[in-house]
Amino acid sequence: MRGIRFFGLTLALVGLVASACGGTTTPGATTSAAPSQTTVTKDLIIGFTASQTGAQNVTSKRQTDGIQLWVDDVTKVGGIKLKDGTVLMPKVKFYDDESKTDRVQALYTKLINDDKVDFLLSPYSSGLVKAAAVVTEQNGRLMITAGGADDVTMEQGFKGVYQVYAPGSKYLVGAIDLMLKLDPTIKKVAIVNEKDSFSASVVAAANPYAKSKGLDVVVAEGYDTGTTDFNPFINKIQAASPDAIIGGGHFEDGTTFAKQLFEKRVNARFVALLVAPPEPTFKDIGDAAQFITDRYVAKYNSQPSYQSSGGYAAGLVLQKALEDAGSTDPAKIQAALDKIDLMLFYGRVKFSLDAKTHGKQVAHDMVYVQWQKGSDGKLATQIVWPSDAATAPAQLRK
């Protein structure tokens, strides 16, 4: 860590948060049928599309893995047991949407009308979630969105769409709070983000928030999806000499951006990037990752990503709603979803009941984790924000 040292952050939510905040509720752990009732086992078909090809391929696969893991876990404990004695055995039905909105709409129509799935989960990425939400509403069905964070999707007056992810507007706001807590003298911030629906909505909230905190946004630039050369942006950042850099987008661009920031010895004390740092493979970039934050620790035996966690959490939310409803009647499940206030390994989940923002996530907050070198010299993640969930103090470049 001679030369530049990074401090990076991103969004998060994690098991440790739940335990730190107390009151964890795990659906499926307590419900059982009364001994006198006759047990009826039924399949619960959960439909969604996955981007097995196209731009969202990598992250979508992680979400699908998370959903599948939840299905496996529920199957292992004997299914979802309803109060009337019915046992639901979840099964997934999904197709490749090629990361295309038109394919999503055609396939969700097929899932609803031909496959007659019982419930819908969303595809991954805000754009595809929007497309699926439209079809869901057209058909009067319920869908829990695992992979869509942008705010605008959930501000259209939907009735049957429920968002598990925290809205994008929350993603970097906490990073700014943390930054100013660590060093209130920080004044200049550069915002460089991917120009896509999700990242743009994150920055649309972070930029005015930074200004409201008295920060001077010296660079506000967007880069195209798929950008691999960040030198023009880095040159501009260096010319403006910001104290902090926030932004990013998704995994590949975020990783490349961080690497090039490191290689160019950018003199910033604080870097917060979206999505990329929490990825388990992010540390592959070496020393540049030392201070790039991660927010993700899991109860899984392998290192899951943010997306796989989201997939798993979406399954848990559906499970809880089914248990609360005690039935597979969509109206009862919808009522149960409206009432949910759940603390999962993923964080808190509660939905807006306002007509315009119905189903929007209102309780889930980000947790920020930092890559830090331990006493053994190896990189590991530590939760650094919020402070009541922190496992280690945040480190800032001296």
Binding site: Q52, D102, A106, T109, E137
Partner: protein
């Protein structure tokens, strides 16, 4: 005018209309969604065929007009609450005008230079929309769900979009046929074969090419307006998706370049194949590889496309299949 009364066109239009009616009659929403895409692809492929098949100009970035039409119509509907049908027509006119403005300089280019120019225009327009805040910038635009109420609800709006897309596809195919059988079409084909000789016989290549380009831009704009109306969202990536443009070219080649029926057959076959592979548990993970292999075999061994090969193999069919 005798040719226009030949049974081919009415038979083709009746066939398309009959197929389009199946999901309505059978009340099959899933089939309706699939045919919506097929009809859209028929429109795109038939439009490209006018500039590529008849005129000999390979427009790789033709999807730009689909995106322009989608954006303008979406903006009109979202901002001014303009009725969808009116917005669609209102979007196709500026798209055609833009085609004329673009066409005048770039249709002077030939071969690969023209193809590259069309790619550049598409990417430039995508970048422009990504940064143009009145159209939502990178986030794009999103309908409030209540906008569908004026059409009777979201479900009814999906039907309206379907009927409209069917009408656009029929109009595109009819236009393609009329052009092919007209003097104007002959002049385009003369340009395709040898532009210099075409000039010698009195054809104004610049004017004819721009006209063909404008016509070929009009229908994709209508399709874009309809597609994004039904989609409920529009973003720069899906609106100016170069891959969709290239797929349309492949459909034209697959079905038979320069024929009227070729793009229809190509679009239907390509979409059917893709749909089958994606939803088939055995092939789902290999769908792109299999599709690629089949396309490679087609390009190598059936160079005239399916309709073209049929016409070549059975010359008598030329009187019946255009």
């Amino acid at each position: 005018m005798r040719d226009l009364r030949a049974p081919f066109l009415p038979a083709l239009l009746v066939f398309i209309a009959a197929v389009a009616a199946i999901p309505i009659v059978s009340n099959n929403p899933s089939l309706r969604e699939e045919l919506f895409l097929v009809l859209m692809l028929v429109t795109l492929a038939s439009s490209i065929n006018i500039i590529m098949g008849y005129t000999g100009y390979v427009s790789f970035g033709h999807i730009v007009f689909f995106g322009i039409g989608g954006y303008i119509a979406f903006w009109l509907m979202q901002t001014f609450n303009v009725h969808f049908l009116l917005a669609a027509i209102a979007s196709a006119i500026p798209a055609a005008l833009i085609a004329a403005l673009i066409g005048i300089p770039i249709l002077r280019l030939r071969g690969a230079y023209f193809a590259l120019a069309t790619v550049g225009i598409n990417e430039a327009m995508k970048s422009f929309m990504t940064n143009f805040e009145p159209f939502g910038g990178a986030i794009g635009m999103f309908f409030s769900f209540s906008i569908y109420l004026q059409y009777g609800g979201a479900r009814e709006a999906a039907f309206l979009a379907y009927y409209t897309m069917a009408a656009i596809a029929l109009a595109t195919v009819a236009t393609s046929y009329v052009i092919r059988r007209s003097k104007f079409g002959l002049s385009l084909m003369a340009i395709r074969e040898d532009q210099d000789v075409a000039m010698l016989v009195g054809i104004d290549p610049a004017r004819a090419k721009v006209m063909a380009y404008v016509i070929s831009a009009f229908f994709p704009a209508l399709a874009g307006a309809t597609f994004f109306f039904k989609n409920g969202i529009i973003e720069p990536g899906p609106a100016f998706d170069l891959l969709r443009s290239i797929e349309s070219l492949v459909m034209v080649v697959l079905g038979g370049i320069g024929t009227v029926a070729g793009p229809i057959v190509g679009a239907a076959l390509y979409e059917w194949l893709r749909g089958f592979l994606i939803t088939n548990p055995t092939f789902a993970n290999f769908q792109l590889a299999i599709a690629g292999l089949l396309l490679l075999l087609t390009v190598l061994f059936v160079t005239a496309g399916l309709v073209g090969s049929l016409r070549n193999r059975f010359p008598r069919l030329r009187a019946y299949i255009q």
